[in-house]
């Protein structure tokens, strides 16, 4: 009997939460500023917060459908701190910023070079920000990336998210969620990295991933090229299916790496080096087999070419990271307890690659 009496009260209270009046101060959707993407740029002593927000206002007329109504708005606020800029956003739009739907956080190059800790703290303390929020650095400024007007239905934020995941699936881009980025940023034994986004003048390809931004401490230190990014993914044991074009082959040959496993070991002879065993399973995707049949001998030759190419690119990437930037991205010092290896001498990578080509 009691439960029967309470049931209508329960639903009455539950549904009243959706309303908005003085008695029951609920939050309507139109009062939320649903943020899809965040951009952070350094501006003098302050910060410029760029926001791509979802348009939650209903269509004004019957002819204005969701398709042709503007999907998202681009807003910019400059203030001394990120929190102040967010408050400014609330004051200007009359809506409360809500970060739970954010798809991307883009940090402008200047802000990244100055140091990102101060900019990120607001997002670490804000409980609505997702830990899995992907972080990127813009090749120039974040506003230029977010201000791109995308004609497709999903808007710019969705397009950027798709570009990132597709590039990662091709092995051309790292994916760094906020929790991993900050974890690496705060860690004493490694450095943070994230994708580098670029806006170009090309009509068909205005937004693209152009390598990997490497941090030293909290500051942007250097940038890896697309090829080096693939090598980095291989070193991190995180390489997805990737297409590799083999140089110097006639006709041109391309292989798809289906599976890659990487394992590091300290050099047994005590040299300042790491032995790196890589097991690669790949398949030929393009070799003009109609004119030049791929027999067993040719396969072996191609496997050797692939092995050499991977050995070269990984060694050069390792050289750049460990001796050039002194950035232990693979966390070898801690994983292998290899403090002694990280002396003044330069560290070498000794790749041992086995390739199985189908």
């Amino acid at each position: 009997m009691i439960s029967l009496t309470l049931l209508p009260v329960f639903f009455l209270v539950l549904f009243c939460g959706c309303g908005r009046n003085d008695l029951l101060p609920g939050m309507e959707l139109s009062r939320r500023l649903l943020i899809e993407a965040i951009g952070l740029d350094a501006d003098g002593n302050g910060v410029t917060l760029s926001l791509l927000t979802m348009n939650t206002k209903p269509a004004q007329s019957g002819s204005e459908t969701a398709q042709n109504a503007q999907n998202s708005r681009f807003l910019q606020f400059t203030a001394r701190t990120v929190g102040q800029a967010a408050t400014l956003a609330e004051q200007t739009t009359g809506q409360v910023p809500f970060f739970a739907h954010t798809r991307l956080l883009v940090i402008g190059r200047t802000a990244a070079e100055r140091g990102v800790s101060a900019y990120l703290d607001f997002f670490l303390r804000n409980r609505t920000v997702r830990s899995m929020l992907p972080v990127c650095v813009a090749a120039e400024n974040a506003a230029s990336i977010l201000s791109y007007e995308c004609a497709s239905a999903g808007g710019t934020a969705q397009l950027l998210e798709k570009i990132l995941s597709a590039s990662h699936a091709c092995g051309k881009c790292v994916l760094t969620p906020l929790f991993l980025f900050v974890g690496r940023l705060l860690s004493e034994d490694t450095e943070a990295f994230c994708p580098l986004l670029e806006r170009t003048d090309k009509h068909e390809d205005p937004l693209s991933v152009n390598g990997t931004a490497i941090f030293r401490g909290e500051r942007l230190q250097s940038v890896l090229t697309e090829e080096e990014t693939t090598a980095l993914l291989l070193l991190l044991n995180d390489l997805p299916e990737t297409l590799i074009t083999l140089d110097g082959q006639t006709p041109p040959v391309a292989c798809r790496i289906r599976e890659a496993k990487t394992r590091f070991q300290k050099a047994a002879d005590g040299a300042p080096a790491f032995d790196c065993a890589m097991h690669i399973k790949a398949e030929i995707t393009e070799a003009d087999g109609a004119r030049y049949p791929v027999d067993r001998q040719k396969k072996e030759q191609l496997a050797e070419a692939l092995r050499q190419k991977l050995a070269e690119t990984t060694a050069s990437c390792f050289e750049k990271l460990y001796n050039g930037e002194r950035a232990d991205l693979c966390r070898l010092r801690r994983k292998l307890r290899a403090d002694a290896v990280f002396g003044d001498e330069s560290i070498r990578l000794r790749p041992r690659i086995s390739v199985t080509l189908d």
Partner: protein
Amino acid sequence: MNAKEFRIRPFAFYSLLFISRIFGLLTFPNDGTAALSAFNGNLIALTYIPLTVLLSLPILLLRKKTGCSGVYRIGETHPAAAKAIFVGYACFFLWQAALGAMMLDGFSGVAMFQRAGHPWLMLLFFSLALVSALTGPETAARAAPPVLLFFFITAGVLSAATLPLFAPENLQKLPDVNVLRLFRNGLSAALRTAEPAALLFYASNRQKGAQGGLPLTVTAIGGTVSLLFTLISGVTGAYGETQRFQFYTLTTVAELGTVERMDDLLSALWVFCAMLKTVFYLTSAVCSMKKAGLPLRSGGGKLVLLAAVWGFYLLLIKAETIRRFMTDAAGNLAQVFVFVTLLPSALLCAEYKRERKGKKKSEAI
């Protein structure tokens, strides 16, 4: 006084204890002075186990000696003192229930209804908890095992979802060099464990299971917290240390197949646990009030209590000063020490004294 009306299975009681405490520990351990690494979290969880058992020892001994009539026996010689103790415990349990409800309030403010109004929902929550408490301990006892199962299923799903992100190198952190701080944290966690006080009021079907259950349950709590802390630290690394609710952070990175975020699962679990914690304390409060002789069997008595609790929670919801006072007072751990350790110790001493007197009398005869 009839103790039979508060009978509860030991498993149900310890399930209630587990549920009531686990979230307090999962969200509390850091004292705010430094980031909490996995190593420190585990050390605190392991310190918590012996300290809690030690602090609850008087209750366990008293219960072993007198069953659940430890306080009532005082009433035979000092009825006013017994009544005062029962009322004191009732107030203590009501206070703990309010703190449990604040736990939900705090979480809802963080994860469920950001800057949106939810006081009426909270009031409904309190009312439902009170109604179930007035129906007797059976309601809480029956609800506890399924919620416990739900907790372990959730923990299992979260572990499965986050294990691919587990990086052992995130764990290799040296323990805090400040041993005193670690001990203080462990003691503070133990001093928040108010649940054993309810052992004085619940009789069990099998008395044997009731005593040994506490160390086992506390060990299970410490072990579970330790395991989850290892998982949290291994997955979230230094990022997790920047977060206030580390377990919540773990759920936000958990993905299983197409289910991208698991924090809703935690929200549901949190609501269940906070609800059961509130019901548990309110039931204990009702039990001690009944033992104090308050007329809670009559409809009028129940209505008065309902109105009083409603009034209090309305105040809690509306008055910011009271909320602030409660938050500050929640950090004052002396109250738990008084009701879990000190008072039962005094009762135990009185019991020994009484026994010795009885012996002397029989020897004299």
